[in-house]
């Protein structure tokens, strides 16, 4: 019985996801407005970035506030490969991802000795150094002027003219990212990462090679951020250091935390909500960011666990299970598994 229930639930979830994906794939047929498509593409980029950071900061529990550096490295490497070597975007973006993954390895190394806020400041330092190098290495990056004129992608004789092929490209990248992240966090390796985030010393005691796990999570995270950067460069056809600042790193972290740490749907929701708010507030013109800042404070006060907290859901599931087995007083647990005070 229980197996059947689990099977149907799983089946239903899959059906819902499938319908949802088909709807998303059909969007460009219904919405002809370039602005809306542009917002959707941006949301896709935010989703890739927040999912990639979620692996390091959510699942592995290593606070990183320099994620924009990976985004920037991926964007610049892709841009340079396309401009200087005339490579196709299909080759340039993956190479950009791989180069970024190497920097992920570098940033993973300090976790050998550092954790918490001290690690955070190293990631911040890394982010600033990357931005300053992009700003000052004139010969290659053209400094603050950036790299304009990245050619539009071509697939055989088809050239990307409208926003719609970009939409499908980012859609595919998002799907690949979600699938990969799901595979990773549901694997034994993913459990090791969660163990590290809960208690590193205990994880080490049960035989997890914590340093190796942390470095690999940084590498994977950097790779996907680099891919997002590469796509961004191709889409905007211009890169400059302004797009990869500390504030951008912080925005991505915010998406992860506000969505709910260590949760894939959480990161997606966080990216969509925080990506949409500034767009929705556009009618307020110059008051837009003022309201955005105030709104952020209000949201965290009322939703301190994030929109989709994995921890809370797990706790609720356990409570429900215990109540169902009559191991605790059923009156103290709500149908959703929440603890009822004073019952």
């Amino acid at each position: 019985m229980e197996h059947l229930a689990r099977f149907t639930l799983n089946y239903r979830n899959k059906a819902v996801s499938l319908v949802f994906m088909i709807l998303l794939a059909l969007i460009p047929l219904f919405i002809a407005n370039d602005y809306y498509i542009h917002v959707l593409i941006t949301l896709g980029l935010f989703i890739i970035l927040s999912l990639s950071l979620n692996l390091v900061s959510g699942y592995t529990g290593q606070l990183s506030i320099g994620h924009a550096a990976f985004y920037g490295i991926g964007a610049y490497v892709t841009a340079l490969l396309m401009l200087k070597l005339n490579l196709s975007f299909l080759v340039a973006i993956p190479i950009g991802g791989l180069v970024t993954a190497f920097f992920g390895l570098l940033l993973g190394l300090p976790t050998m000795r550092l954790a918490g806020d001290y690690l955070a400041i190293v990631t911040l330092g890394f982010g600033e150094i990357v931005r300053l190098v992009l700003l000052n290495w004139d010969k290659v990056t053209r400094g603050p002027m950036g790299l304009p004129g990245i050619p539009a992608p071509e697939l055989g004789s088809y050239v990307f003219m409208s926003k719609i092929p970009y939409y499908y490209t980012v859609f595919i990248i998002v799907l690949i990212t979600v699938a990969t992240m799901r595979r990773i966090v549901n694997s034994g390796f993913g459990l090791s990462l969660i163990a590290i985030s809960q208690d590193e010393l205990a994880a080490e005691a049960v035989g997890i090679n914590t340093l190796r796990c942390k470095i690999i999570s940084f590498i994977i995270s950097a790779f996907f951020a680099g891919i997002a950067g590469g796509f961004f460069a191709v889409y905007i056809s211009f890169v400059s250091p302004d797009s990869f600042t500390f504030m951008d790193s912080i925005m991505v972290l915010e998406m992860v935390v506000l969505g709910g740490l260590a949760s894939i749907p959480g990161s997606i929701i966080g990216a969509v909500v925080l990506g949409l708010i500034p767009e929705i507030l556009r009618f307020m013109a110059e008051y837009r960011m003022l309201i955005f800042g105030a709104l952020m404070v209000v949201i965290v006060i009322f939703k301190p666990d994030g929109f989709w907290s994995a921890k809370k859901r797990m706790r609720n599931a356990i409570m429900k299970d215990l109540a169902a087995r009559k191991m605790i007083d059923t009156k103290t647990v709500s149908p959703r598994g929440e603890y009822i005070e004073g019952a």
């Binding site: 911040l124 506000l258 952020m296 404070v297 965290v300």
Partner: protein, 292 residues
């Protein structure tokens, strides 16, 4: 060697200002264990208040400085009440987000009120620079060094030799035990924010006068540097913040003089990473026992 000593003087001037700002980060961190990301923007608002007092109310420099420090202290208390106290029980990252919300709000508030442009900070501080050999120490530098030293000595006295200071140290040692000893922790936190914000206002005004520039995003780079300084010294440690600030100021100025000015900030961050790798809790940080 003249370049070296000149840069040492410049570095110490900037460094003492970093130290003043770093104190705010480190004191808040010592008690609440959160990074107050809005600190740099509180500094910016404090600087604008100082500018308004000088320009529109025609106050002299010193009274304007003191009054701005007082108003900014009240603002610090208000920010803590509205944005940090409600999320104190939640995850530390949530407080960080709240701080970022405050930061975005304050920057945009300043942009609406004072515009995005850079304002000069005209003050009548004239005098002959002190010249030692080839090294010039300008009047402004003496002011910046003097005021920040005075404030740091005052803070040191307050923290170590007053009842309130002892309560503050007790709270930073362990909030729950401090509460059991009858310390009103909420008040201590308010006072911590007040002092941190007042010091930031002082540092901001001195920075504004020193560079003759006040603008809404000035808190960003000043805050980032000061935060780096606080971590360098060992976050949570008051002498550490002072040492970290001075060290960072000197290192980046010497680095700019001998290596490359474009990479000035990169040098500071690279050094920070190296120092942290050698000494993971900063120069004067407490090493915490790891427990399972």
């Amino acid at each position: 060697m003249d370049v070296f000593f000149q840069q040492l003087v410049n570095g110490l001037t900037v460094g003492s200002l970093y130290a003043l700002i770093a104190l705010g980060y480190t004191m808040v961190y010592g008690i609440l264990k959160i990074i107050n990301f809005a600190h740099g923007d509180i500094l910016m608002i404090g600087t604008f208040i100082g500018l308004v007092l000088v320009m529109n109310f025609h106050l002299a420099f010193v009274p304007a400085l003191l009054l701005a420090m007082f108003i900014t202290a009240l603002m610090g208390i208000l920010v803590e009440r509205l944005a940090y106290r409600p999320v104190r029980a939640a995850d530390k990252l949530i407080a960080l987000l709240s701080a970022l919300g405050v930061s975005i709000f304050l920057v945009n508030f300043a942009q609406l009120v004072w515009g995005t442009e850079t304002h000069p900070f005209p003050v009548n501080i004239s005098g002959e620079p002190i010249i030692l050999g080839e090294v010039h120490i300008g009047t402004l530098q003496i002011w910046a060094l003097g005021v920040s030293l005075l404030l740091m000595v005052g803070l040191h006295f307050f923290v170590n030799h007053t009842k309130m200071g002892v309560a503050m140290r007790a709270t930073s040692f362990n909030v729950d035990y401090a509460r059991l000893m009858g310390i009103n922790v909420d008040n201590i936190i308010s006072i911590t924010f007040a002092i941190g914000s007042a010091l930031a206002a002082a540092a901001g005004i001195l920075i504004g006068v020193y560079y003759d520039a006040v603008y809404p995003v000035m808190g960003y780079s000043a805050g980032l540097k000061a935060f780096t300084a606080a971590v360098l010294g060992g976050i949570g440690s008051i002498p550490g913040a002072m040492l970290g600030g001075l060290l960072l100021g000197v290192l980046e100025n010497e680095g700019a003089a001998y290596l490359s000015s474009g990479y000035k900030d990169a040098i500071a961050f690279a050094l920070l990473i190296i120092i942290l790798l050698i000494k993971p809790t900063g120069l004067m940080g407490r090493r915490e026992q790891q427990k399972v």
